[in-house]
Symmetry: C2
Subunit: 340 residues, 2 copies
């Protein structure tokens, strides 16, 4: 009974604080939300909520502010993801449909997300490791110089130059191309790597040094986790709205945004689970980011979570709306990856 009202009070505090950025007092609460009780009652509830650690006061005789724990309860039990409006959905679809390739999809997504949420948006490029090999192309640039092009099911293309240990003519090239593709095409990265490793030894017996060099570089490209770390960021201009708390909040965030490794770790859980994940304030391992929250979700074709996308913002943030935007963008991007 009173329990219910206390939660309503917490919800009201979170909503008001997010809207006004100012500690919210008992009187303002009963006025703005139709709670149907007196300020004194609300004060009692607030005292309990404070005891339980959901809210604090910045100083005696000021209103209350949600704690991380308070936000956590809010997103877990009090708020529901706010769906996008019809108009927003159309805008998202229209904006993403114009994309011409994978790179473009990622770029557009990250911009879109930062505009929808007015926060800093982060989109990870689809990971290599779970994708399959669509095709391998070998191009002779010079008799002893070859370009190896690796095309993956996600639409990503990796290319490498190889200096060959011996010259190669067109016939041998066609033969090698055929063998490599028979071994790798259609396979998941891990299997392709295994199949390729067996290739240079071949059926004949004596190992082929040219094939060996090509396979080495291919395997290297497949296992190159550098590209797993590729990330697109947009909306840093929105950080200007932080206003105060510059050194304490914006600086570490800007640094984290450049340290892609940190970012990936932050968003990592979301890739694993594929579900919409919210990390609030100091819940993560990075002290400097104790006043920022991360909302992320996995995305990818056919509900396989290949990578992560989301936003980073202040703990004081519109969780329902932002979660809605992140979820919507992830769905549309996944659908586009599905088609290609």
């Amino acid at each position: 009974m009173q329990e219910d009202r206390r939660l309503a009070v917490l919800r009201a505090i979170v909503e008001d604080y997010v809207a006004t950025e100012e500690p919210v007092g008992s009187k303002a609460l009963v006025e703005r939300h139709g709670l149907g009780v007196s300020p004194a009652t609300v004060r009692n509830d607030m005292a309990v909520l404070e005891d339980e650690g959901y809210i604090t006061q910045p100083h005696t005789s000021a209103g209350r502010v949600p704690t991380d724990k308070g936000y956590r309860l809010f997103v877990d039990r009090l708020a529901s993801v706010k769906p996008m409006t019809q108009a927003e959905r159309r805008a998202i679809a229209a904006f993403l449909d114009g994309a011409v390739d994978l790179d473009d999809v990622v770029q557009r997504s990250v911009r879109l997300l930062s505009q929808l949420t007015r926060q800093v948006a982060v989109v990870q490029y689809p990971t290599l490791s779970r994708s399959t090999v669509r095709h391998v192309e070998l191009v002779l640039l010079a008799p002893r110089r070859m370009l190896v092009v690796l095309i993956l099911s996600t639409g990503r293309v990796e290319q490498r130059l190889v200096e060959l240990p011996a010259e190669l003519d067109e016939d041998a090239l066609a033969d090698l191309r055929g063998r490599v593709n028979r071994a790798a095409t259609g396979e998941v990265i891990a299997d392709a790597v295994a199949a390729l490793r067996d290739l240079p030894g071949g059926t004949g017996g004596e190992p082929d040094p040219v094939a060996g060099a090509v396979v080495d570089v291919l395997v290297d490209a497949m296992q190159d986790h550098r590209s797993d770390e590729r990330i697109a960021v947009a909306g840093t201009g929105n950080l200007a709205r932080y206003g105060d708390s510059f050194d304490s909040a914006v600086r570490p965030l800007l640094e984290a945004l450049e340290e892609h490794v940190v970012l990936l770790k932050l968003m990592g859980e979301a890739t694993a689970s594929g579900a919409l994940t919210v990390r609030i304030g100091a819940e993560g391992p990075y002290e400097e980011l104790s006043s920022t929250s991360v909302i992320a979700t996995g995305y990818g074709p056919r509900d396989e979570a290949l990578a992560t996308l989301g936003v980073v913002g202040p703990t004081r943030m519109d969780y329902p709306g932002t979660m809605g935007a992140v979820r919507a963008v992830a769905r549309y991007v996944s659908r586009i990856l599905d088609e290609s």
Copy 2:
């Protein structure tokens, strides 16, 4: 005579102000620099410099601060580019030598530059338009689906998918591949486009719809100026050092950094001239960036300026040191492009 001393005073003011970020007064000047004259004399010089518009006082009874015009005179006549130390050169070379491909070179350069200068660094990817076609590869993914890969002399690779209007067998593919490469390989983009346009009509007479589709997409990729606009940015964390003047300086800068078009325009002159260019404060067309300076230079193999690289920072900036770093990085990057 006094003219010389006045310039020395201006130089001293710029150096001190850059170092301390505080308006500099006559007394502090004669103490910190061995000017050999009394504060009163310096005050007279300052009055003249102020009349001529090289310095101002933020308010009566405060020290002087250089104006844009003052900085301009400083970089044009009073300062010389500060060369990198031996150790710095080695560090630059070592850091850039580890790069594996063009993308990596650009990424490393931009990080390096932001660390050397402790400013925001910007590196434009080498432009398509002046590069030549190294090779075109056509890959049949399905009977009516082709991947077109365009390899340029800068090491850049563009790929496009084409749905073919008719099926194509291996022989026809090899024929088409040969014709396309004979037309385009080795040519400058513009010439390649012209040669390709003539290709589908061919010698026979009746136009080939498959070749037409392939050529269309190739020409499109070559003329795709979207990729001309690719830019890498690093060091935004250094903006935190701006301290005050957040809304007036940092916000518009962050916005400009996301608007790559604006950035490219800012740095554009440098590409054209190829030389080290300094734009100070309001000299450019963007009012919001009136308190930021841009130091940029063209770079590219064999002294062809293919693209631009540089840093963006506050007008109050260490010009000699920053110019030295920009020049050094541009040289090393150019040398690396030379080799590949």
